[in-house]
Each structure stands twice: as C-alpha cells, then as structure tokens.
Symmetry: C2
DNA sequence: TTCACACATTCAAAATTGTCAATATGTTTT
DNA sequence: AAAACATATTGACAATTTTGAATGTGTGAA
C-alpha cells in the first residue's frame, strides 16, 4: 500500500470520523487536557487515546505532556499543511494540451 | 450514525483513498471521460464507478453525460465548499473563557 | 431490431477502521 | 515503597470500505 499518497491520505483521514471532528471542535477554543476531552465525549479512554494518536500522527494536533496529564492543541503548522494539501488536490491547472473527447470519433 | 458531522465526513472521505486522489489529480488538467480515467488507473470498471460515485456524492466532482459517455470534472463549488469546511474545522476561535488546567489542583 | 459499447448496480469476499475490556507504563501522593 | 491516577497499548470483535465478477441499463451503430 505504500504510495506517494500515503501522507495525504493520513492527513485527510483525521477529518473522517465524527468523534475526531468533535475533538477538533473542542480544541478550536484552545488547548485541552485529555481528561477534559474524555468528559465531553461518550467514548472510553482507550478509544480517545486511539483517536488522539491518529490526529497527532496526521500532524493536525500536538500533545504537550505535563506530569500525569497530556494537553492537546491544534498544531498551526499541521493545520496549514492540511490546507495546502487540499489546495493542491483541488487546484485547476492551466493546461495547454489536449483534453477532451477521448471517445467520440 | 446520523449526525451533524455526516456532511463533513462525506466530503473528507473523498480525499482518503489513493485511487480517488489519482482521479482528482487527473481531473486537475480538465474534464475527463470515465473511459480515459479507467485507462490510466489499474482498477476495474465497477471499482472506478464506485469511486466516481463517492466523489460526486461528496460534491467534489461533477459528471456530464454525453451519449454513451460521462465526462467528469472538478466542481468549483464543491472544491470551495471543501476548503471552507477545512477552514472551519481548523480555525482557532478567539476565546474569552477558561481553558486550561482542568486537572491540576 | 439486434448488437456492441459505456457506465451503473448488486453481491460477496478481503482489508481497514472504530470500539471496548484488559493490561501496561509512567507520574504523583501517601 | 505502595497506592492512586492519567494515558497508552494490546487483543478481540463489529462495522465500514475497497475491490472485482456478474449483471443491469441506456445509447448509438449495423
């Protein structure tokens, strides 16, 4: 499965789960402790940990450890990178060549 | 599974498959016939059709039927909507309230 | 009207993902 | 050192997604 798109897929998958979107929404108002996130979501602790790993591996979220606690926040760099990827995927190229009518003869 | 995030998830899932990313890349240079896409991808026709449905249902791609053929292209409106959704998900809110230290006492 | 073609749909199998219970790891408190 | 706590990891299972073979639908050509 290794491909040039792995990185892009990893980033966008971060936004493809309802609970992860809820988490991002909570983080939009600033850094939150994992236990705070857990309070508001109706999932178990191991499930939260799983989602935080996906968000962090995608670079969208960063964790800051402080004693027993971990504080999560949206990574500005990761957010910028995701936006850049989306722009790239959707930008229309100025194209000089032959485009249409592969089929009509 | 019905939730307020359904729409968002549907849009971002469009970008979470390697073949769909390849398809989008091909469409960046303009409208393409399904058969042209099929030529360049190493998947079966039914698999292509499945992916095109996901891209169209997400609003990212639009299809134009012409006789036996369907020409697909990136939808500028859909593309704009996806970018808007991502902005929303990642924008940091100016927040006046209490944020931190849910845990330390 | 019959045939060939382009694309969509259905079905079943394989792969991936989300979930929770149990357990492990590391930190603070007693 | 032991107990309590916050989070991560593992393992198992259910749900979802990707895929291709077979089939259906609509269109143009013979």
């Amino acid at each position: 499965m290794a491909s040039a798109y792995n990185d892009t897929v990893r980033v966008f998958k971060a936004f493809c789960d309802e609970n992860r979107l809820r988490i991002l929404e909570m983080l939009r108002t600033g850094e939150k402790c994992a236990c705070k996130l857990l309070d508001d979501l109706h999932i178990t602790q191991s499930t939260l940990s799983h989602h935080m790993k996906i968000l962090c591996d995608a670079g969208i979220v960063q964790g800051r450890k402080d004693g027993k606690w971990v504080y999560y926040s949206i990574s500005p760099e990761g957010a910028g990178y995701a936006k850049k990827l989306l722009e790239q995927q959707l930008s229309l190229e100025a194209f000089s060549g032959e485009n249409g009518s592969c089929c009509d003869r």
